[in-house]
Symmetry: C2
DNA sequence: CTCTGTGCAAAGCGTTTGCAAACGA
DNA sequence: TCGTTTGCAAACGCTTTGCACAGAG
């Protein structure tokens, strides 16, 4: 990871009044480095860099980071939730076979008038398909 | 429920080689009648009409009905999965506060070329917002 | 120093499984 | 009759909680 990324996370955390702990940074770096991760995968990867971390800590952090909108939950139907650093992309390809998630460029999308009584705060487009690996 | 709806479910089940049991019909009727339901809600409502049904039966049926694509799973980030009878609509409004899901008319949507290596089988658009009730 | 975060172990809950009996075809 | 489904209870596995200690601010 570059130091600018680290600085980035530190600022993000300060902005939302979360303390900057090495565990938190390690979790964020893993999520950023590897894209879309389930809790289990995040835990196992952080463990390599940070052998003393506990699963409970990962869960607690995933929650507080989601509440602060630093990370975001993505779910492909039939698979476990995955997490990614919040960003502009809200369009995903999800593999129905293995659960892989990839960001794609966002097709512009407006909520139809039938939703006018709602206050719309976000738009998510998910394409469900079969990824190149699972096609074989 | 109308008898045509019942007939409908019977045919759906036969088409996919699932046996027509009263429990299955009751589950399907509840889902159809009430829109988007979590497993817990389906169970509690079916229980009123069918006091002997067990939670395990609901779970088993939700799975086989999903495998046969008779019902579909929808998940609003941060809330439990809900289920609905499969249909044409694959566009939803999801309430980030209470988890309410509503179908909306589908805005046409094509996967961008960046996804060309995938085999796309479905498209789902989800608008996240705050429903009229939670706005108050 | 104070308050938040961590780690551990136990508790909690939603979901799944095994099995015998009931049921649909 | 044969294979599937149901209902029950036990087992499972993921997630949360309580608490004492460590660490950030």
């Amino acid at each position: 990871m570059s130091s600018s990324e680290r600085t980035n996370f530190v600022e993000m955390l300060r902005d939302v009044k979360l303390k900057v702990t090495p565990q938190r940074i390690a979790i964020l770096e893993q999520i950023q480095k590897n894209g879309h991760f389930s809790i289990e995968e995040i835990y196992e990867d952080v463990l390599k860099m940070f052998p003393s971390i506990s699963l409970a800590t990962v869960y607690k952090n995933i929650h507080s980071l989601m509440e602060s909108d630093i990370i975001r939950e993505i779910k492909v139907p039939g698979h476990k939730s995955k997490y990614q650093i919040s960003g502009n992309s809200r369009s995903y390809m999800g593999c129905s076979v293995c659960g892989l998630v990839e960001n794609i460029e966002t097709p512009n999308k407006k909520a139809p008038s039938s939703a006018s009584k709602w206050k719309i705060v976000d738009t998510m487009v998910m394409f469900i398909g079969i990824c190149p690996k699972c096609k074989k």
